[in-house]
Symmetry: C2
Subunit: 322 residues, 2 copies
Amino acid sequence: MTVPTFDDVVAAHERIRPYIHHTPVLTSSYLDELTGAHLFFKCENFQKAGAFKVRGASNAVFGLSEAMAKRGVATHSSGNHALSLSYAAGRRGIPCTVVMPHTAPQAKKDAVRGYGGKIIECEPSTSSREATFAEVVAQTGAEFVHPYNDSRVIAGQATCSRELLRQVDGLDAVVAPIGGGGMISGTCLSLSTLAPGIQIYAAEPDQADDAARSFRAGHIIADDAPVTVADGLKVPLKELTWHFVQNFVTDVLTASEDEIVEAMKLIWKRMKIVMEPSSAVPLATILRNPDVFRGKRIGVIITGGNVDLDHLPWNQWPRRPS
Amino acid sequence: MTVPTFDDVVAAHERIRPYIHHTPVLTSSYLDELTGAHLFFKCENFQKAGAFKVRGASNAVFGLSEAMAKRGVATHSSGNHALSLSYAAGRRGIPCTVVMPHTAPQAKKDAVRGYGGKIIECEPSTSSREATFAEVVAQTGAEFVHPYNDSRVIAGQATCSRELLRQVDGLDAVVAPIGGGGMISGTCLSLSTLAPGIQIYAAEPDQADDAARSFRAGHIIADDAPVTVADGLKVPLKELTWHFVQNFVTDVLTASEDEIVEAMKLIWKRMKIVMEPSSAVPLATILRNPDVFRGKRIGVIITGGNVDLDHLPWNQWPRRPS
């Protein structure tokens, strides 16, 4: 296990700067009033390829030696890492193979192919995904860029909160979604060096609460195939992201499916931005835990905007009895 | 008829500054490639009350004497002017009455009431709207702020393109939707003083093409109740806006219902912003007329973002055989 350092973050930022957007921070007086907090939304939905994951993917791709780059890159991903890696590989002009569940949103499959990535489909479970992927790597010899359990990827994601700290003064806390933990780990990496007083909250669905259970148990707990509208947050922690969660995260908060969809619709309606269900989980947890956040200055990471406009969750998602 | 001057624009900008957002200009490398032009989207969907109309409404409300302000303001509107006037009146703490078709989107009715405006419903035709309104004014004695045929309103809307010129250098043309013509008139007012070389294109639906027909005929042609997904663009020109259209507009371009919905979805998908059908008409006309815009630097006014998320047009709008 190679734990990235803040020097890696600085190097990553320099390396990826030509390939990423410096995304804006938006505010909403309505949502501030509703939550009683001051919310600063870091809008990675406006990022290249539509998600923060292009930061880590670009750092991995552009850090490869010429010899390694020639053999291409490969990964498995529930979506945004897949298209981010395809984007970065396309910019460098090298091949990219992606193992993806056949249930992934059509919009994400189209986008991967649009960037020139090649898709191999698998079943929608972590076990099937990893087995299929092992075959692909054996066949192609491509460099594996894990969606989150990769030192290069975490250093890349860390550039997001480094930017946020330059854009907003006096933050008390940052809230980011947690799936595999790449964004949260990057947030921990930057904040623990630059502003160790800022609290770090991870937000996840009740129905995929493996990180919350891991956090309380003190060791990694993994679910094989959780069901949630927040399709980017289904994957489990791994040893590298667990290192950051265990050592730097203040708390892991959760929200119900209805709360997530409600928060998503609220952001679309009031802030006029398109973002995906996973990105609504932080606001959903802030609304569920008003006492934790009231009166504070909170950075909220909007992780991505790649949503299938023909299947929006307030029309289509099957609500479950709570 | 009092035609506003550029001095009125400067005064309006000073007056309304505390109540409006300085909205951002966004670009999209994807849409630039698709159109062969350089598009600069002035994002009034991020404006207070969700639309550019808050500029004109605020200028009217905050320009009233104390005595006039006490009696309140009143208007008729297909939506965004209604909630913008309610917003501005609320900020000044004076009453606001709005005559609105009962078919107006629920989201807009809720927003008007949310800002403290009082709604009186009418039939969805210009004739019914104007008759109902006359009664309201007779009863309340409120100051009538017309949605567009008002010198104060046009001077307010003109602040939008004044900002755009400061944000983007070297524009060749600006494209804005045209309904009653308030935004286009404001655009003409600012550009004819500040940058008379910039061409001004008005964009409207094929199915509500009264401005295009007026432009070709040389006099105002008004339809009573056109049917289009671009619900903000159904109203006819009046003498003040006709003055600007006739004297300063380069051309009026139109787009079909399908082209408008397609352009709207394209902007949502690629730019990750929520905007309403009326705001998609400029891009739809640019895509229909590539030769007019290819290679040029084009300002595109995204006029508003108040859309009913439960009734998005790519799911719900009845497509007509073309």
